[in-house]
Homo-oligomer: 336 residues x 3
């Protein structure tokens, strides 16, 4: 245990942080969609880190979702990060344990003060599927030109036909996870030009049902994203797609699952920014059925402190099913 009285060196090694976000949704359903008027402390997170030596570090993140976890309660307690980083050289680090996959814009950096909108965008929820953690091991290499390369072998997804082979349903969360089939993720990002980040990732898993479904097979993900800031303007965008092998996914159009969004924003003052976002996604894009979903958001973030933000936005949905939830959302978030 880190004891304060064992000298300054002990406490020096410990780091503690946290973040949280409270949401209020006021949505009207149309075309058969239900209304939603809800208050929820969606995420409460504590982070604990420890520096074993100059080259070996631990980091962890524990989350209480939906404020209340227990038998017959709506929330859950999740371990989202718990890994050991071991620097093999000044620009090569090995990572082992349970970690966030380096995919997309939000998955690794999802503190509420870092993004626009009360709720996270649906493309990074239903396609990527953020927050997405797995257990495994791999390497992170940082080149001098601003390029970072990452490669991991890790636990994989386990989808099934009942869930229409949707990607999000396949998350096992490293909780007694079936490890019949592992997965591989490679990621590259470039931050060599001030204000600009470009990134992309690819993942492959030999059987996305953990060999439980003879009608299903491999899954391949491709994803690319951009985050570009020019003075008060900012543009974020992302495209992601999955290809699932096998007659099972194909029979319901789940052999292709994809989506993209584009989010321009503008800092009106030092403390207030406005944004718009168009997002569209389809977890059954492989056939001609009308299964695509789309949502437009506009809103405002007001930071009373760089790490404390109040948010308001309005959303319009335009789903192929004509079942839409339209209305406004309010939120407050912080990180430290």
């Amino acid at each position: 245990a880190v004891e304060a009285d064992s000298g300054k060196s002990a406490l020096d090694k410990l780091s503690i942080g946290g973040y949280g976000e409270l949401h209020y949704n006021n949505l009207q359903g149309e075309g058969g969609a239900s209304d939603k008027k809800s208050v929820d402390f969606h995420r409460f997170v504590m982070m604990f880190g420890y520096e074993f030596s100059d080259t070996i570090r631990f980091f962890s993140e524990v989350e209480l979702e939906h404020s209340l976890s227990g038998d017959d309660k709506p929330g859950e307690v999740e371990l989202e990060q718990a890994y050991i980083d071991w620097d093999l050289s000044s620009n090569l680090t090995s990572r082992s344990g349970l970690f966030l996959l380096p995919v997309g814009l939000l998955n690794e950096t999802h503190e509420p003060d870092t993004f626009y909108g009360v709720e996270r965008n649906n493309v990074e929820k239903y396609i990527l599927p953020t927050t997405w953690w797995e257990a495994g091991t791999g390497l992170i290499g940082r080149l001098d030109n601003g390029v970072t390369l990452q490669g991991f072998v890790h636990s994989g997804l386990e989808t099934n036909a009942d869930a229409k082979y949707s990607i999000r349903s396949g998350r096992q969360k490293v909780a007694k996870a079936n490890a019949e089939d592992l997965a591989v993720t490679l990621a590259v990002s470039y931050a060599g030009i001030p204000g600009l980040t470009l990134g992309g990732s690819v993942q492959y898993q030999e059987d996305v049902t953990q060999s439980q479904d003879a009608d299903a097979g491999s899954a391949t993900m491709l994803e690319a994203h951009v985050d570009w800031q020019y003075e008060a303007f900012r543009l974020r965008g992302l495209y992601g797609m999955w290809m699932l092998d096998g007659d099972g996914p194909k029979s319901m159009g789940a052999d292709e699952q994809n989506g993209w969004y584009l989010e321009p924003s503008y800092m009106v003052t030092d403390k207030m920014g406005v944004f718009a976002r168009y997002s569209t996604w389809d977890n059954q894009a492989g056939d001609s059925a009308d299964s695509a979903k789309a949502q437009t958001d506009i809103g405002v973030n007001y930071w009373i402190h760089p790490r404390v933000v109040f948010k308001a936005d309005y959303q319009w949905q335009d789903n192929d099913s004509d079942k839409n939830q339209n209305g406004f959302n309010l939120g407050v978030g912080y990180s430290f």
Copy 2:
């Protein structure tokens, strides 16, 4: 994250605390009431705070109830506080997030070393209903004469006929809470005379069933309390009541729910205090049926340290139903 090695200023902003209480109950049931011999680590709490600036602060409290939370387990993990305080002036603060409502004596201050008795009193459990948190926003004003005024708009209760419209059953705990109907709470307290605290609060919610029950309607709460210390003597007392509109609550007497208690105590030595408490409450006080409950407690607190206490008490119940649980309770509690 707060990293110790990022300088003294970073750790300066973090605060960490906690409290806990272990209970042993040894009760005999009479009149058909069951016996209860039980050991339970009723509450284990950690608190984390962060000072973003001189005027903006975060505070949180996470609780593990009954020692064990999970599928088919008796306990739960609860977020009981997580809010941002923003000082608008030297005596006016805005509070936003998930917070404890300023009602009664125990709801905001419930560390075991601060009160007598192993178990909390039943009036503040079944009438107020402590521990009671909601999400919302409001203002706290402190006048120079010792008066504090608080006003909040926040998420509301959701009771129903199956639960006999009991107030305690209505707590949604900000977990995907139905927000069809919000509530308003106003509170005033006076601490201008050394040793004396007087306080009261009122709450109004337009529909206590979140508009789910056409036979129910608004709910109004009134509450007043006193805490008076004179040398080694101390007297605490509280009265609380609810009025529920609608034929549904009226049909089962739940249109009136009320209770009160009086608790004199005396510090025998610096470390040991004795107390007595009479409490009576009725969650179906609106009709002539015999539904009132009453309990008398006597006991002792022994503080081996100002924040570490051992407790023992004896309870007699005198319920209208003649179903009573009588016996003794032992406890140990701490806070830091």
Copy 3:
């Protein structure tokens, strides 16, 4: 709350620690046993301590098991330690609260960097049953000759016939625990010779079913263990047994439950150690039925830091039932 800005003395009193272990199992079932290919963040633990004074201390341990806790989720959140130590003299301490029983080698010291093997040994899982905590009170005395004596009165087990009176199934975990029958534990250990620890313990409970089962009665546990280190060699061994009274346990051979293991190991380098372990145990040893289980493990620990370890081992089972799981396990663990 401990606030850093309230002066060095406040933070001085707080201690924070943690440990965790990630497991990968790759086992083949034979004789009807199932295969197991699984990834699981088995244990994530945070520890919080506080020093109230020179003689009064608090210590606690909270665990998230299996990474994910909630309704219909595989894991759970557990309070494993939360007690007050009060030094009555320089070598006599009273302990009250929820604490780990002083039985065996692993129950009190189970950080993954302190033992060999990815999974804990089965004797201390199914016979002792580690991790085993109860609530109660008692004394710890440390003599000058290296002998430590401990005695506690605490909450007891609650087994039943459906669980074949197995000891592990009887853990109530101090969660609304039935306290009809308490238990007593006495332990002695000797650490007077450098490198050698000898210990043993005995427990007695008048009714191991909390008086719920008329066919069952008392339970008595005896346990002895050794941990001997000589230069690079180390030997750990343990024997444990239970005797259960009553016709119920006797009818299924559960009146005797026992097991032992022996584990020699050798540090090949400063960072790498190899081990072998033979363990055998039987939760129905009281009759002539073939119910014994046995497992042989060999493996390696590689410490990249004294408190960060990577592990690999191979296991062979030799159960009387001929249902065996054989294969290898990988793990990573840390403590701070």
